[in-house]
Symmetry: C2
Subunit: 235 residues, 2 copies
């Protein structure tokens, strides 16, 4: 937690906040903060700055706030990720958020098991928690836009071409021999396949919708590793 994220309901008076629960425990046990210490804080969806610890006990933490910094800009990036297995989902959502993607679409694919969609980790509050963890990690306050595309074809044929207007889109696909873009400024859409990869028909649909193939080389990377490597390369 590099940033203590504040919610509107934490604000008790102008320039004052009162926290409890997980954030209180973290500030006491990891930061080992005491009265007078300053913490990096940010208001969800708003400004960031410093919070001076006014009082702290077993029950709550009171902060005096000075919020005067804009959050870091989002990357002009839409990540379209084939829904990972539940065990990997949390890491992928938190990593995509911490990297600064503006939008995240979780997409169905042939090799995505149906059961993944009904995992408890897919509940809105669970997905939201992972995005909050990503913001706290990266020192950001702005949630990415998250959407779920449970049907491959309507998304790829209907939504994807609209997403691509005025920008560039890439399909990460090992063995495609595709271009290796670097330091693009335009809005970028990046599609990353499931474990086991896209099937041929999916590759055809995605390329047909306007994505360009992109080959990271012979190594097959875990989704969260691949997306970080691609973000590092493209931006």
């Amino acid at each position: 937690m590099n940033l203590v994220l504040l919610f509107p309901e934490d604000l008790t008076a102008p320039g004052r906040a009162c926290l409890s629960g997980r954030r209180l425990r973290h500030v006491r046990e990891v930061h080992r903060a005491e009265a007078g210490d300053e913490l990096a804080v940010g208001l969800l969806g708003g400004l960031m700055g410093r919070g001076r610890v006014v009082r702290l006990d077993d029950e709550s933490l009171e902060l005096e706030l000075l919020l005067d910094q804009e959050p870091p800009p989002k990357l002009p990036l839409t990540l379209v990720i084939a829904l990972p297995r539940p065990k990997a989902l949390n890491r992928v959502v938190a990593a995509a958020t911490s990297l600064g993607a503006a939008r995240l679409v979780l997409l169905n694919a042939w090799k995505v098991e149906k059961a993944y969609w009904s995992s408890p980790k897919m509940k809105p509050e669970s997905l939201r928690e992972q995005m909050l963890l990503g913001l706290e990690q990266a020192k950001d306050t702005v949630m990415p836009e998250l959407s779920l595309a449970r049907l491959f074809r309507p998304f790829v044929e209907g939504d994807l071409p609209t997403l691509l207007e005025g920008g560039t889109g890439f399909l990460a696909h090992p063995g495609s021999g595709g271009t290796s873009p670097k330091a693009l400024a335009a809005p970028v859409t990046l599609a990353i396949g499931p474990e086991g990869g896209w099937i041929e028909a999916e590759v055809r649909s995605l390329l047909g919708a306007g994505l360009k193939p992109l080959d990271l080389g012979p190594r097959i990377l875990r989704t969260e590793t691949a997306l970080a490597a691609l973000v590092g390369r493209i931006f």
Copy 2:
């Protein structure tokens, strides 16, 4: 497991291997392989290719091997990583391996808690297992060279300048405003700090040893996310 990794002791005759345990379970339960199917296989430290399932039951898996491909080249990269907390260590070691780093040094730092060094996850067999998982993920057969540097100063003043000979080295340090190298071919050394970052004295020592500062931007990333983003950027 994108590659079934074979060990010399698995070889029962020329071109034949017999496996059991974790790999057998994975091939049965995840790959759902049957007699006649072909699997991607590789001999640890050697060639890769195909293994045709000759026989498979509850006890063992017998493969007929055709090993005719070189493993993918390693990146000319030495990662010097401040020892992560045990919970993150496995992910970091597996990610560094899957990305293809030739060498991995786990280094002490001021903000590395002493207890991390005596974690069960630091046992040689545990570290080796994570590297094997990274190889199986990335379809590689060659282990990175791993070394542990429990003393910061002797490593940075003694070993690091030698490592840097004939190559370039970077110190990932948020806020340093350092250069943003791209697509370097020369051997690269990359130093990544602990949670909470390097302290000032460490930054001075690392720069003094010849590393150049490198700033990934205002976002603070988890070690494994940062290293993938840096590898994606540099290579």
